[in-house]
């Protein structure tokens, strides 16, 4: 792996040449800067609450801010974007935020053991809701907000990766989401990574603010509203209460959250188009239509399956709709323990969990565009059995998906299944039951939240032993970065290690 030297030189205002930073530097800088912003916001909530928290948050914020500022002042040349280093740098960004978060948890005393703090940080950054806290309301306000903020940061990172980086690094353009067009000469967000990243960040911030205000209007307190907005827009799922959203028991709040989750599960490109008032483009949204149709049908089906139990009609529909949206967008907010529902309902939810949200959104899972693409592929193969010489293309809506992209879609499915099988096996070896292992693994790869067991109920990280949590950490992170960047990063790390060992003279 050769390093390309930056061909351009930069100079700052006084005419001295400035060395540009590579992808690693900019990733670290970006992550630090954003963390600093979030830490500042969290510290604002800790003001009246707990002095130790406040001091820790402010100190860490200052350190991160300075690092970020120092790194980001250096110019960055986008022509230096190559697939493997960029993906590795992105993964490093996630790990850095997790490390910052670990330090915060340990320093404020919220968590005592290092591995627990690391686990909670990784669960945050990977936007899963597999928390180790059975009762989060015992934490201080600042830490609560920071906890949700880690999810927000993880979501930002993931969506930047999905929309701003991977399509330009050899991934499929289709997975950047957005409306389907016959020719992809103009992507919805941008044809270059940096403007796309800027726009994504802007949309994200605006949407979070809007959701916060809406939640306050719906009846939540400011702290709860901020925390839940942060964890909803990132489809993370951390809550400030043990019963999650069930604590509030309010239709208004649930309605706001359902709309917010649906929006978070839709592609960022649509938000951008709506902002630019480009309504015409938004109509060609086959994947989005499929997604919404599935939400509607699943809600009705689950509602019908559960109509025999002792809940009322409207309560049943509330629970069905909220849970379906929460699971399909891989958020993880709960108003009822869906693991103990009718097995038809919980199995359907498990299958929907594997699929996840739409492409180019912040939710996890395989994405509906891959399912649509694979379904078309299967149809084509069936037709080929009858007409062996027919030529058909795989289409989503109006846009054709290239054969390479179809290959990658299938490969992604193989990765998910392999990772799922291996992780379930390891979890089982550490003592989990079969159903628990399978549901936890699926939940971790799709970055949703708790699983369920044979007897129903919720199996969260609080019920797991330490080795099991250690196994789930890399699984969650891999799931968040869409699997193959994690594989490539590990490969790159391994080959860098081999190169380093060779350079210090370790010979075979």
């Amino acid at each position: 792996m050769t390093r390309t030297a930056a061909a351009e030189t930069f100079s700052d205002n006084s005419g001295n040449t400035v060395k540009p930073i590579g992808v690693y530097g900019s990733s670290v800088g970006f992550a630090s800067a954003l963390s600093a912003v979030m830490l500042t916001i969290s510290s604002a909530f800790a003001i009246g609450d707990d002095t130790r928290e406040f001091i820790v948050l402010v100190v860490v914020a200052v350190v991160c801010g300075l690092t970020g500022a120092a790194l980001l002042r250096r110019p960055f040349s986008p022509s230096a974007l190559r697939p493997v280093p960029t993906m590795t740098a992105a993964v490093c960004g996630f790990i850095l935020v997790a490390a910052i978060s670990t330090i915060v948890y340990l320093a404020t005393g919220a968590i005592e053991r290092v591995d627990d703090a690391l686990y909670e940080s990784v669960a945050g950054v990977s936007t899963s809701a597999l928390t180790i806290f059975e009762d989060p309301s015992s934490l201080g306000d600042g830490v609560l907000v920071w906890r949700s903020a880690t999810q927000w940061l993880g979501g930002v990172g993931a969506v930047i990766l999905a929309v701003g980086l991977l399509p330009f690094l050899g991934g499929s353009r289709e997975l950047a989401g957005g409306p389907q067009r016959r020719e992809r000469t103009r992507d919805a967000l941008s044809t270059r990574p940096l403007p796309a990243i800027r726009r994504v960040g802007a949309i994200y911030c605006v949407v979070t603010a809007v959701v916060t205000v809406a939640l306050v209007v719906a009846g939540m307190g400011v702290l709860d509203a901020v925390a839940h907005a942060l964890s909803t827009v990132s489809t993370g799922g951390f809550s400030t209460h043990a019963d999650s959203i069930g604590y509030f028991d309010s239709v208004a709040i649930e309605a706001v959250l359902v709309v917010a989750m649906l929006g978070a599960g839709s592609s960022v490109a649509f938000a951008w188009l709506l902002w630019r008032r480009n309504i015409r483009e938004t109509r060609r949204a086959f994947e989005l239509q499929v997604y919404l149709a599935v939400v509607a049908v699943s809600s009705l089906w689950i509602w019908w399956l559960r109509h025999d139990s002792d809940i009322g009609v409207s309560q049943g529909f509330r629970e069905a709709a909220f849970t379906v949206v929460s699971v399909m967008t891989t958020t993880g907010h709960r108003i009822s323990d869906w693991g103990s529902w009718h097995p038809g309902a919980s199995t359907l939810l498990l299958v929907l969990l594997v699929v996840g949200g739409t492409a180019g959104s912040v939710s996890g899972g395989l994405r509906w565009i891959r399912v649509i693409g694979m379904a078309q592929f299967v149809w084509r193969e069936l037709q080929r059995q009858l007409h062996p010489r027919s030529v058909r293309t795989v289409k989503v809506g109006r846009s054709t998906i290239s054969e390479d992209s179809v290959d990658r879609m299938h490969a992604q499915m193989v990765y998910v299944m392999t990772l799922g099988a291996v992780a379930s096996l390891v979890l089982g070896l550490f003592g989990e039951g079969l159903t628990e292992a399978i549901t936890l693994t699926i939940s971790a790869i799709s970055t949703m939240g708790p699983g369920f067991g044979d007897a129903g109920g919720v199996v969260s990280a609080a019920d797991l032993t330490r080795p099991e949590r250690a196994v789930l950490m890399p699984v969650m992170l891999t799931g968040r970065v869409f699997l193959y960047p994690a594989f490539l990063s590990v490969g790159a790390g391994a080959s860098a290690l081999c190169a380093a060992m060779r350079s210090i003279g370790v010979r075979r």
Partner: protein, 532 residues
């Protein structure tokens, strides 16, 4: 407009042509094959009838007589006036295979429904038992197997014997005119890696396959009869379901009835051999043993089996396995090895026998620890090699899928590189790769759909998903409360059992036949509509 049920030619442009002129319906080949398959059931039914007659403990002869009459009459009526014409179109292949199997299943269910096993009211359970037989699955909805007569039970075993190699392959052996379409017919019933021709003419190939199949059955019969335990009836019965990797037994506790490691070893070897491509056995009979080591998927099949046995034996030996009351089962290394080997091989080759000496023995794999149950589930999905009588998604497809996935990652690093998908050393053409990936995706989709339907009727998750996988892979037992010492009456809803019946058929006929079975009638119907 006339029905084309006379002898005639299948012309490319004119359609089905007889001496009297053009005909609009082209269902003749399908009907002909359906009739022929039903006629083929008659000898098996007669054998079962003879045994039932001779048996003093039961008198279900009239049920079998009824079945023989229906098979001969219906089969004859469909077969005699029709013909295949000059050859089969691609559409007709799938319809023929699918409808033959459905017709045979219905005829095969008549002895169960008319006799004392089930009643006519429970025809769906009779159909379940029949389909489980023909598809060589081995799941049962009988609470007490031994209650039934010797002849009826022998018919149950014979259905698996038929289904292992296939009725359509049997048809190809006797119908020289099917030579042209025979290869695709055989491929539709059980596609192999490449339809290896064992002989220049397809009829010869089909005959050779059946000869090898019969040979294996005879060898296993002899071995089972020689060892202490099984009598001749038992030996024949179990040999038939071993060669077909079916798994039906005439005893409630299956092979656990004998509690003999000799019997289990013979059955294990028989199942393992039947999970390997029959083409390689043919070559071995001609003294060419290199085929086994050169075939990539055979190597992987052996490798998977050995690794699985090692893993399960180790964990069963080291970990405490608790029985249904919570007491620890006392097993030494040999006990763990025996039970692990038997269950791994029987599931890996889609057999379905059980060597549990009761619900509290180590042979009852639902007691094993969760990672081992997951390993068993994965073995169920993977199945055996292509060109064998075992089920599952087949080892070579998994190999190709992995190779394909790894290649995708390589292409990210080298976007302009040319990296072919390989099976062992040989590159696989892209069309085949797509077909394999399409098959795997469809397999997964149908399994998930089946699971969703079964859970919607109220069955729990673990039993439903393992039941659906077991049916699609033609395995036999499931996990949880539908395990090897239980039966599929656990699925209380009749709809759930019907879903399993459909899954068993879809899985046995390698998906495409059932999914495309209506294409010929649909095309004929469309032509009929457009004639006006």
């Amino acid at each position: 407009m006339r029905l084309g049920i006379r002898a005639g030619r299948f012309d490319d442009r004119e359609g089905f042509v007889t001496r009297r002129g053009r005909h609009d319906f082209v269902v003749a080949p399908t009907i002909h094959l359906v009739g022929l398959s039903m006629l083929f059931l008659a000898p098996g039914l007669l054998v079962a009838l003879a045994i039932e007659w001779g048996s003093t403990t039961s008198d279900d002869e009239w049920a079998l007589v009824l079945a023989v009459v229906v098979a001969v009459l219906a089969g004859g009526v469909l077969w005699y006036p029709t013909s295949v014409g000059n050859g089969l179109s691609a559409r007709s292949v799938f319809s023929s295979v699918a409808f033959s199997w459905i017709a045979c299943s219905i005829v095969g269910a008549i002895p169960y429904a008319a006799g004392s096993m089930f009643s006519w009211v429970r025809f769906d359970d009779a159909l379940f038992e029949a389909v489980s037989g023909f598809s060589a699955t081995g799941s049962t909805v009988l609470n007490d197997v031994e209650r039934n007569g010797a002849g009826i039970l022998m018919w149950r075993q014979i259905t698996q014997f038929y289904g292992g190699m296939g009725m359509v392959v049997l048809a190809v052996t006797v119908l020289p005119v099917l030579g042209v379409g025979g290869l695709s017919l055989m491929s539709a019933e059980a596609p192999g890696l490449s339809t290896d021709r064992l002989a220049p003419r397809v009829t010869e190939t089909a005959r050779t396959l059946w000869k090898i199949y019969l040979g294996i059955t005879l060898v296993v019969t002899l071995l089972l009869w020689l060892v202490p335990g099984p009598n001749l009836y038992d030996a024949v019965a179990h040999a038939m379901t071993t060669a077909s990797t079916g798994g039906f037994s005439v005893y409630n506790s299956s092979i656990g009835h004998y509690d003999s490691w000799l019997v289990e070893t013979i059955i294990v070897c028989g199942l393992f051999v039947c999970g390997i491509n029959f083409t390689l056995h043919y070559r071995a009979l001609r003294r060419d043993f290199t085929g086994y080591s050169r075939s990539a998927d055979t190597r992987l099949y052996v490798y998977i089996t050995v690794v699985a046995i090692a893993f399960t034996t180790a964990l069963n030996w080291i970990q405490d396995v608790r029985d249904t009351q919570g007491n620890i089962i006392d097993t030494g290394f040999t006990g763990a090895l025996r039970d692990s080997t038997f269950n791994v091989v029987t599931l890996g080759s889609s057999g379905g026998f059980s060597n549990a000496r009761g619900p509290d023995s180590l042979g009852n794999f639902v007691l094993w620890s969760p990672p081992l149950q997951l390993v068993l589930l994965l073995l169920m999905v993977v199945g055996g090699s292509a060109g064998s009588t075992s089920g599952g998604a087949k080892v070579f497809r998994i190999q190709v899928a992995f190779n394909y996935a790894v290649r995708s990652v390589k292409k990210v690093r080298h976007p302009s590189g040319i990296v072919p998908v390989k099976l062992g050393q040989a590159p696989v053409p892209p069309d085949n790769v797509h077909r394999i990936i399409g098959f795997l995706t469809t397999f997964l989709a149908i399994t998930l759909l089946g699971t969703l339907l079964i859970t919607a009727t109220g069955a729990p998750f673990k039993e439903s998903i393992s039941g659906a996988i077991s049916a699609m892979s033609n395995m036999g037992p499931a996990l949880g409360d539908a395990g090897p010492t239980s039966n599929f009456l656990f699925f209380e809803s009749r709809l759930a059992r019907m879903v399993l019946v459909v899954l068993m058929l879809i899985g046995r006929l390698e998906l495409f036949a059932v999914l495309l079975m209506f294409s010929t009638p649909a095309a004929s119907f469309r032509k009929f509509l457009s004639r006006r």
